[in-house]
């Protein structure tokens, strides 16, 4: 198998100037005195992506994800190391980045496609597809400056995915347009994968990584801390999040001073209980299920929220809820406790499912996460097919013979 992208010892240094002097006058006035701090956005990152693979890049804000994508796509040059790219690469760092507001949609399609490396002949051949994909047939001859932001983004995405590059690089741009359009985008990405094209993408959405990626790279303050199967990598990612003081901590500096902050609440090993516990290792459709999770609070924490999520083996979210949803707030005193989640009925048909547990504070910052706290299988004794056990009745009215 050939590699599509080789990232070899890539480091990127930024200089953060206290005040940036950009004119000749200022440079002369402050000759040689332009204080700056060095900041390594990436440090010795090495990995390779095999042709046809889809690799996700995850990490907290400021961990260097976007810098890495920019280095791979050639927008930034690494300070040290190199990136070798085999094949035509199209980078979608910002939808419609190359659009000229004064030009019409049609002109922009041609300009943007050639920026992404497509020849005029090819654009002409795919032009109708692009316009149809963007659903802009009626507006394509209008100037782009009169487009709504949704139209703008749809056109940007349509051009990029119709370019059909060997390698597609995407930076958190998949949340475009309405649900219908998003479905179309995901469909196109699957088709990309089937065609054996390589995809590299940055996202915060763990769901997307699970759904799409074969592997994932986890970055933390410029270091690559994990590279592995999507689930494996996400596990590391979540551990990092927790260690650094939680999801959504934008600065993420808390852990920088020394050892990771102690978790205020630790989740224990979860156990499952269903009517067949002890006699069989699976559930029957419609049976009840309870999940018991012990926890230990190391400090007094007000307004603790416990959450539960169920996913199938493809990483699709089946169900998610939390105690806040049930209006059950809880001020945790120091000590050991247990939370029991009970589903009166689990109307699933056949399949293997993972249970994830999260405990967070009232601001939604996760204190501890167990991505795969427990696992259960559902066995369907009947001949019904599908995922959900919907209650079905049928009544056949025979034709009245006259």
């Amino acid at each position: 198998m050939n590699t599509a992208v080789d990232v070899v010892d890539v480091s990127k240094r930024f200089r953060l100037y206290h005040e940036k002097y950009t004119s000749l006058k200022e440079r002369v006035l402050h000759a040689g005195r332009n204080p700056f701090e060095e900041f390594w956005a990436l440090r010795d990152v090495t990995f390779s992506v095999i042709e046809g693979e889809t690799v996700g890049i995850v990490g907290r804000n400021g961990s260097g994800k976007s810098t890495l994508l920019k280095c791979i796509s050639g927008i930034l040059q690494p300070t040290k190391g190199k990136v070798v790219v085999r094949g035509q690469l199209a980078a979608l760092l910002e939808l419609g980045a190359g659009f000229q507001p004064e030009l019409t949609g049609r002109e922009n399609v041609f300009l943007n496609a050639s920026l992404l490396g497509l020849s005029t002949r090819e654009v002409e051949r795919r032009y109708d597809d692009i316009v149809a994909f963007a659903e802009l047939e009626h507006f394509i001859d209008n100037q782009v400056k009169y487009y709504s932001s949704g139209m703008y983004m749809r056109l940007g995405f349509a051009v990029a995915v119709n370019v059909e590059p060997d390698i597609l690089v995407i930076d958190e741009v998949l949340a475009v347009g309405d649900e219908d359009f998003q479905r179309k985008c995901m469909g196109r990405i699957r088709q990309f994968q089937d065609d054996g094209r390589t995809i590299l993408f940055v996202t915060h959405a763990a769901d997307q990584v699970r759904q799409i990626c074969d592997r994932a790279v986890v970055l933390d303050s410029g270091d690559m801390v994990a590279m592995g199967g999507a689930g494996e990598a996400l596990h590391h990612y979540h551990e990092r999040l927790v260690a650094a003081g939680g999801v959504g901590d934008p600065a993420g500096n808390d852990g920088a001073e020394g050892a990771p902050r102690l978790r205020r609440i630790r989740l224990g090993e979860a156990s499952l209980e269903h009517p067949g516990t002890g006699s069989r290792g699976y559930l029957l459709p419609g049976e009840s299920l309870s999940v018991q999770v012990p926890f230990e609070a190391l400090e007094k924490t007000p307004d603790v929220v416990f959450g539960i999520a169920i996913r199938d083996q493809q990483g699709n979210l089946i169900y998610r809820s939390d105690t806040a949803e049930l209006d059950q707030t809880f001020d945790a005193p120091v000590g050991v406790g247990r939370v029991d989640f009970t589903f009166d009925t689990v109307p699933l048909l056949e399949g293997s499912y993972d249970v994830g547990i999260v405990v967070s504070d009232r601001t939604g910052v996760a204190i501890d996460i167990q991505d795969r706290a427990a696992h259960f299988d559902v066995m369907n004794p009947g001949r019904t097919k599908g995922t959900v056990a919907l209650g079905l009745r049928a009544e056949i009215r025979p034709p009245i013979l006259g």
Binding site: G52, V84, G87, L116
Partner: protein, 350 residues
């Protein structure tokens, strides 16, 4: 580097996933050989030129964009690029014929031949200098050889030149002024020379402007002065030749200040254009009548009698233009090397 914890190699994956990956890789391989690109702090000039060559269609689109954007939403559209020189010429014609007569016969044609090339140069340089900063959104978010933005500005300058050339043809017809047909082939030589020089300067200045934003203003001022170092408003033989010819360059024997004047790469192409299109008084020699009077040499010059243009042979024009072209190509390569050095930080500096 911290050891990537929990690294999962390809082989450790479930067999089904591995098979699917293999199938995908096969389909990828089936699409044939793919171009390889290296992103690093230093990339060889050869690779950069190759990248540039691959992006030639993008160049055409960017030139088209530049022209369309400039005159979009204006009523007269690209006619402005023709009206502009026509109006400038009218003003200069009125001033230098009626108020400050400089005695050059058919002054409009003489000047137009110079202004035509000057505008090509000026438009290219001004647009080129601002090309990277003006397309910051593109440079920050899209990957392509960035020199192409500066080169596209020169390309657009050439297109505007073609529009203005049409105006010049109208003027030639209007004045029933006959170009010197047998030397018409000098025109492309002059053009490639000035285009190469403009490209070299545009590539260099576009990168400089990212780091020193006032480059743009500096360029405007310099261009203002530069115009007067080109024989457009004044007659070459009278105002320049006779005065500079008599002085030695840095006192070195056998030299003269005229060399300094020709060191300006715009001069040779402009003089070539005048030689072809102005063509008045050719082949009158412009060597002035100089007489020794009271121990000093005094030269009298009459533009009508002695001519306006230089008296150089056709071969001189060929040599001068090719020299400018050759030097400019070296400068262009130098500018690209410099550009490559500065480019690495563009996305951060913008």
């Amino acid at each position: 580097m911290s050891e990537p914890a929990g690294s999962v190699g390809i082989a450790e994956r479930p067999a089904g996933a591995l098979l699917e990956l293999e199938a995908r890789a096969e389909r990828a391989a089936a699409r044939g050989p793919k171009p390889t690109r290296v992103v690093a702090a230093r990339v060889s000039l050869r690779l950069r030129l190759l990248e540039l060559w691959r992006s030639r269609e993008l160049f055409a689109f960017l030139v088209r964009k530049e022209i369309k954007v400039k005159y979009k939403n204006s009523f007269l559209g690209f006619l402005w690029s023709m009206l502009n020189p026509a109006l400038t010429l009218t003003v200069f014609y009125v001033i230098f014929t009626f108020f400050l007569p400089n005695g050059i016969p058919h002054f409009v044609i003489y000047m137009f031949a110079a202004v035509l090339l000057w505008n090509l140069f000026q438009n290219s340089i001004m647009a080129g200098t601002a090309s990277i900063t003006g397309n910051a959104g593109l440079v920050r978010k899209v990957s392509f050889p960035r020199e192409i933005l500066a080169l596209a500005s020169v390309g657009a300058g050439v297109v505007f030149f073609v529009f203005q050339f049409v105006v010049m043809l109208l003027f030639l017809l209007g004045f029933w002024h006959r170009p010197d047909w047998p030397v018409l082939w000098l025109v492309p030589l002059a053009l490639i020379a000035i285009i190469a020089f403009a490209a070299a300067l545009a590539v260099f200045l576009s990168a400089a402007n990212v780091y020193l934003r006032d480059t743009q203003h500096l360029v405007e001022v310099i261009l203002l002065a530069w115009f007067w170092a080109v024989p457009g408003i004044y007659a070459f033989s009278g105002a320049v030749h006779n005065k500079l010819y008599r002085h030695r360059l840095l006192g070195i024997p056998g030299t003269h200040l005229l060399w300094l004047y020709f060191a300006n790469p715009i001069v040779a192409p402009v003089m070539t254009f005048q030689r072809v299109f102005y063509n008045v008084n050719h082949p009158i020699s412009t060597l002035p009548t100089c007489v020794a009077r009271a121990g000093r040499i005094v030269c009298a010059h009459d533009p009508v009698k002695d001519g306006v243009l230089a008296h150089y042979s056709t071969l001189w024009y060929v040599g001068a233009d090719l020299t400018v072209f050759g030097v400019s190509m070296v400068l262009l390569l130098g500018a690209m090397v410099l550009f490559a050095r500065l480019e690495g930080n563009f996305a951060e500096e913008l």
